[in-house]
Symmetry: C2
Subunit: 331 residues, 2 copies
DNA sequence: CTGAAAGCGCTTACAG
DNA sequence: CTGAAAGCGCTTACAG
């Protein structure tokens, strides 16, 4: 376990040139089996590992991908990172995290990412507006860095992305409630703008309009402790027999208030959420929710990125993964 | 927004040598104000950003820290990463993620991390056994890479760490239940071994013994859907008037079964959890829980690491952050 | 205060 | 199949 073995020492010990050592590492087929074995043996004995930084500089490839997120704290982000990490590891890529807080200067951040010489980027930040997305696309295109959107909706066919059809999901769950006989159905969304929530609202609105019902979107901070009063006040004088939360936690929060103010779930109010998290399993009644394959979205996005980085031909840049409704007690 | 501006072009445009450009970036005080301004202006005009890889190779510093985790999916990990990321950004460090799955070869992973030339490492993996911890310490010490344990318990005063006193927390919550008149108190822990859970159990056991009560640890997979049956079967013929879950989700899961099988909470069974997550706010009844400043643990650990990387003198290598009990309906 | 030069540890044409 | 040499884009003693 000696420290700091360089390629030079390996070459010396194996009685070959640096070039040959480098070749057995990068193009083993180009070196004669005999010498290859000899070098490999020395590498193992000395515990040599090529310095990733030097390699990166010389080859112009860092085998590192950048992952741009806004709030790593969100459960969906963490799970997506799980999928990303597993696939990255499989293809020997490292992951570098970049976080974009609310008021950050996007150009600065992008320049940082470019300066870090990542080979590709995964974009998980779904709070970006159209201008920011344009800047992102331009910067990465300029610098020839492939990138893919993971669980981010952006209406541009030339941008690789993987997601689910949130509009369809929103439509389906709303339809289900309507068929269930509900009429005063609210969508409980967030104050902050997320591209995926826009889609959910869109699907909801379409289903309501189609049924001749009035779509009504209520926006909450998403903060559970704040929700409480907010919900209670707002709904105290409203007719409501159905509610769809853009997140399970919002749905459960509403469900609790609802029960506590005498509106029984699901008898008087049907409730559903998005994401199929533990919240929906631990709540009482249990929550009907749309299962979103978040881990898979991350994994597939990372896989897509590896192809892009290898300049492989792709049949399609946009991957839409399937979702499904998990029915439980609340609807 | 031109592509690939190098230090050479900046030097040319500013009519100075590369060395000077490098100096205004790294040791601005060593260059005359006039020329400094001139160079800075050119840098801005050209949009120059030093190539982080080249810089890393030349300076032997990458301003990157490695973060070693086992399961990024866990909520506490995600939140800790939030704290880490915020502080890292503040001190201009990048974060590289390394995940250690269950059956991974630790030495290989460590060699990877070393090869990546990170300046320091944060260890969030709390499923490591003593041998693995020894290997880790040796490897990093050998390679002169500082590291700190974040929310990981390891009994070695020479290893920097930040955490809370889990044994004390376990003791306190148990004491509270005892004072509340409970006698048949179970600790609901995990099958998998986590260093922090060992401590919680220790505190619990001490409090029970001290009160002349029999400590009883029940182990669950931590999987909510599996829990259900597991709990129901096990407790069907047991006397139980108190239960402490090592995680909120476990506590809530138990609480639900309890209520459903006719044991009212908190009247017949008191319940408490650890972590003070949303689960405890959204559950009915709401859950008493130990608040653990997970974000802060990450932030403080990262801050400590920056000091270590700068070879600053420290008064103490081990930081213990405060915790407190949030009382709600379940106890 | 500034520049010329060596060097960080690799990869990759180019010859042979 | 293999080696000598240039180069990746920086930093950092060393002179001056």
């Amino acid at each position: 376990m000696s420290t700091k073995v360089t390629i030079y020492e390996v070459a010396l010990a194996a009685r070959v040139s640096l070039a040959t050592v480098s070749r057995v590492l990068n193009n083993p087929e180009k070196v004669k089996p005999d010498t290859r074995e000899r070098v490999l043996k020395v590498i193992k004995e000395l515990g040599y590992r090529p310095n990733a930084i030097a390699r990166g500089l010389a080859s112009r490839k860092t085998t590192t991908v950048g992952v741009l997120i806004s709030d790593i704290t969100r459960a969906s982000v963490a799970e997506m990172l799980g999928g990303i990490s597993d696939i990255a590891m499989k293809y020997s890529y490292s992951i570098k995290l970049f976080s974009a807080h609310e008021n950050i200067n996007i150009s600065d951040l992008l320049n940082d990412i470019v300066a870090e010489q990542v080979d590709g980027v995964l974009l998980l930040n779904d709070e970006l507006d159209l201008n920011q997305m344009k800047t992102i696309k331009e910067t990465f295109d300029d610098n020839d860095i492939p990138f893919v959107l993971a669980n981010v909706i952006y209406d541009d066919q030339t941008v690789p992305s993987v997601s689910i059809d949130y509009a369809k999901a929103g439509y389906e769950i709303t339809k289900l409630m309507i068929e269930n006989g509900r009429k005063d159905i609210y969508m409980l969304s967030t104050v902050r703008k997320y591209s995926v929530n826009d889609q959910k609202e869109l699907g909801y609105t379409n289903a309501m309009n189609e049924a001749g019902l009035q779509p009504k979107v209520f926006r909450t901070s998403g903060n559970t402790s704040v929700n409480r009063q907010h919900f209670a006040n707002f709904f105290s004088d409203k007719a409501v027999d159905g509610a769809i939360g853009v997140r399970d936690s919002i749905a459960v929060s509403f469900m609790n208030i609802s029960s506590e103010t005498g509106r029984r779930v699901p008898e008087m109010v049907a409730v559903a959420g998005f994401q199929n998290t533990k919240y929906g399993i631990l709540s009482r009644p249990t929550l009907t929710s749309i299962d979103i394959p978040v881990y898979d979205i991350g994994a597939v996005a990372m896989r897509l990125l590896t192809k892009l980085m290898n300049k492989e031909k792709l049949d399609s840049l946009q991957v839409v993964l399937p979702h499904y409704i998990v029915r439980r007690e609340s609807l």
